[in-house]
């Protein structure tokens, strides 16, 4: 059975406009030509190193990029063009975003109130259920963000996606700081949602974690998806992977022996090599 496409991102590019010392407009490209498809019932993990623009992708989909951002490309949601206006109507209801740090909570508002948000009384019961689910005492609802530990804050953020009836969740690094039990619980939740026919985008730098829950893994490097592969491909010696960067990443995992390829000429590890669409090579000129 061919699964229905939930979200499709085609040739997305994001640049930031600024002025240089000569007061000329310059555009810094953070993401260029990124394509990604999320089917119903699927968890797509976006894996990449810190600073590779993963969060920007989430922000672009949610239409919360800063004013000086310039975007290109198109997005489709449930087969229809996803315009910024349409996104503004969908977000918070059909599409939920789970941000990555406590800085995304209003420092002067009690967290229970924030989880409920503007969704009304119906959401309050759901908020209590969510807190129970994630092992937060109900009294936590009366706390302010600065009183939360990292793990508690993360659970509060996870709770925010619980109070809406979502079709799709975009989670930006939802697990660091959580203890293992809760982390697994959160990931199980995503699996459950996906099995109900919803879509999940899981943004993480932890390829190991992605391998455990995701159906597909998009390897992200420097604002581009170098390869999207089914999770099964990351098996054995990783020979099913097309791009050398994905293979190098896979080989560098602890269970695969921390193997880092070295440049035969200068001996630099592949972690420092240049990567493009076709492959990766050492800066010393040797391929």
């Amino acid at each position: 059975m061919e699964k229905e496409i939930l979200l499709e991102v085609r040739h997305l590019s994001i640049g930031f406009e600024s002025y240089n010392a000569k007061v000329e407009k310059v555009i810094f490209n953070a993401i260029s030509d990124l394509s990604l498809t999320v089917h119903k019932g699927e968890i797509v993990a976006i894996v990449g190193s810190s600073g590779s623009g993963k969060s920007l992708l989430a922000h672009a989909v949610m239409n919360i990029l800063p004013d000086n951002a310039r975007t290109g490309g198109t997005m489709f949601y449930k087969g229809e063009l996803l315009t910024p206006e349409r996104m503004n109507r969908l977000r918070g209801h059909e599409i939920a975003f789970i941000p990555q740090s406590v800085a995304f909570l209003d420092p002067l508002m009690q967290v229970g109130e924030q989880v409920v948000g503007t969704l009304g009384e119906k959401a309050r019961a759901l908020q209590q259920k969510a807190f129970e689910h994630f092992g937060l005492k109900q009294s936590v609802a009366k706390l302010y963000p600065f009183q939360l530990s990292g793990g508690m804050a993360r659970r509060v953020l996870l709770s925010t996606s619980y109070v809406a009836e979502t079709e799709m969740i975009i989670a930006d690094e939802p697990t660091p700081g959580l203890d293992l039990k809760i982390a697994i619980e959160a990931l199980k939740d995503f699996r459950l949602l996906a099995d109900q026919g919803k879509g999940v985008i899981l943004i993480t730098h932890d390829i190991d974690l992605a391998l455990h829950v995701a159906d597909k893994i998009a390897i992200f490097y420097d604002g581009r998806v170098v390869e999207t592969a089914d999770t099964q491909t990351f098996r054995g010696d990783g020979q099913g992977l097309k791009h050398p960067y994905s293979r190098a990443l896979f080989h560098a995992l602890p269970q695969n022996g921390f193997n880092l390829q070295r440049c035969p000429k200068c001996g630099a590890t592949c972690a420092t090599w240049n990567v493009d669409e076709k492959g990766m090579r050492c800066g010393c000129g040797n391929s």
């Binding site: 503004n88 977000r91 740090s101 209003d106 503007t118 925010t160």
Partner: protein, 329 residues
């Protein structure tokens, strides 16, 4: 918590005393070294012999060394006696009280006006950043910020008192009326121009600070997240914007006490409004050292109380201080 609070108040009182001692010493030194001579100012045109002069100096204690005079004065102040004003021929404390009561109406009105107008315009400008509303408000604030108070005062007089004759030229009540006959509406009528002038000095500052703070808040991660959860502009501003700019606005409003005092000296002089500000100038011109020192001490206390109030309000309404383990100085 209680122990912390006690320590906080102990520290505050100690700091206040230190401040007052420092202010009194510096003011005393300045007055003492000013080219003004109290005896000259007292005598005016009257001619006296050197012996008579020496007699006055001795009676006033001016022949004693400055340090001794300071200690005598300080000791008296500690006992509640701030001396007698040379200009008003009344106890300094009585003059201070009278003038302050008249000034506080002026300063209070200006304080509330500038706070309200500044906050509202600042929020508008921040919410509609980059639009024509923002540009008008910003231009207005920049013009105000670069205009001296006394000049605005004169302009107000020319336009509203001389040309349009809507408001009186000066003073706090009509000339030739006894204090008991002055009505409230007459008082307000006399208050409008000086209060407006005085408030204008603070408005620009408050608008620009409020605007910038609101812009920072609206660009914060938590507002982004609220937006991603479907809140519209109105909800963003009322639920997160105002909440997060309230504290800085309060700090600003109370820190403005010192500017208010400085501004009142100019505004009261332009409008011949009989308050503390104009008394300060009179005391200076007439080498009225006791009154001058009294005003210096009083204004230091006034500004200190303003800042202290801001701190206390912070402790009450900021959850990060309220629930984060006591107030820290």
């Amino acid at each position: 918590m209680n122990k912390g609070l006690l320590r906080y108040f102990g520290k505050t009182v100690a700091r206040m005393l230190l401040l007052l001692v420092a202010v009194s010493m510096i003011s005393f030194f300045l007055v003492n070294n000013a080219p003004m001579n109290a005896v000259d100012a007292f005598l005016g045109e009257a001619k006296v012999t050197d012996e008579q002069r020496a007699l006055i100096e001795e009676r006033w204690g001016l022949n004693k060394p400055p340090l001794e005079r300071y200690l005598i004065w300080g000791n008296n102040v500690l006992h509640g006696d701030m001396g007698e004003s040379l200009y008003y021929h009344q106890p300094v404390s009585k003059v201070l009280k009278e003038k302050f009561l008249s000034s506080i109406v002026l300063m209070g009105t200006a304080w509330i006006l500038s706070g309200l107008i500044g906050f509202v315009l600042g929020v508008l400008s921040g919410v509609y950043r980059g639009t024509w509303i923002d540009r008008i408000i910003k231009t207005f604030s920049l013009v105000l910020a670069s205009t001296p108070v006394f000049w605005i005062g004169l302009l107000m007089l020319v336009v509203f008192a001389v040309e349009l004759q809507w408001f009186p030229l000066g003073l706090a009540a009509p000339i030739g009326k006894s204090v008991n006959d002055v009505t409230l509406s007459e008082r307000i009528h006399h208050l409008v121009l000086p209060a407006l002038t005085l408030s204008i000095t603070g408005i620009a500052n408050i608008i620009l600070h409020t605007r910038q703070k609101l812009i920072d808040v609206m660009e914060s991660d938590y507002v982004l997240f609220a937006k991603a959860r479907g809140e519209n502009l109105k909800q963003l501003v009322t639920r997160h914007g105002l909440r997060n700019i309230a504290l800085p606005a309060i700090t600003l409003q109370f820190a403005y006490f010192s500017e208010l005092f400085g501004g009142s000296v100019l505004a009261e002089n332009v409008f011949s409004y009989p308050g503390l500000g104009s008394s300060a100038v009179l005391a200076g011109l007439h080498a009225d050292a006791p009154l001058l020192l009294g005003i210096a001490l009083f204004s230091a206390l006034f500004v200190f109380v303003g800042n202290l109030t801001a701190n206390i309000i912070y402790g009450i309404i900021d959850p990060q201080i309220r629930e984060g383990g006591g107030i820290n100085g």
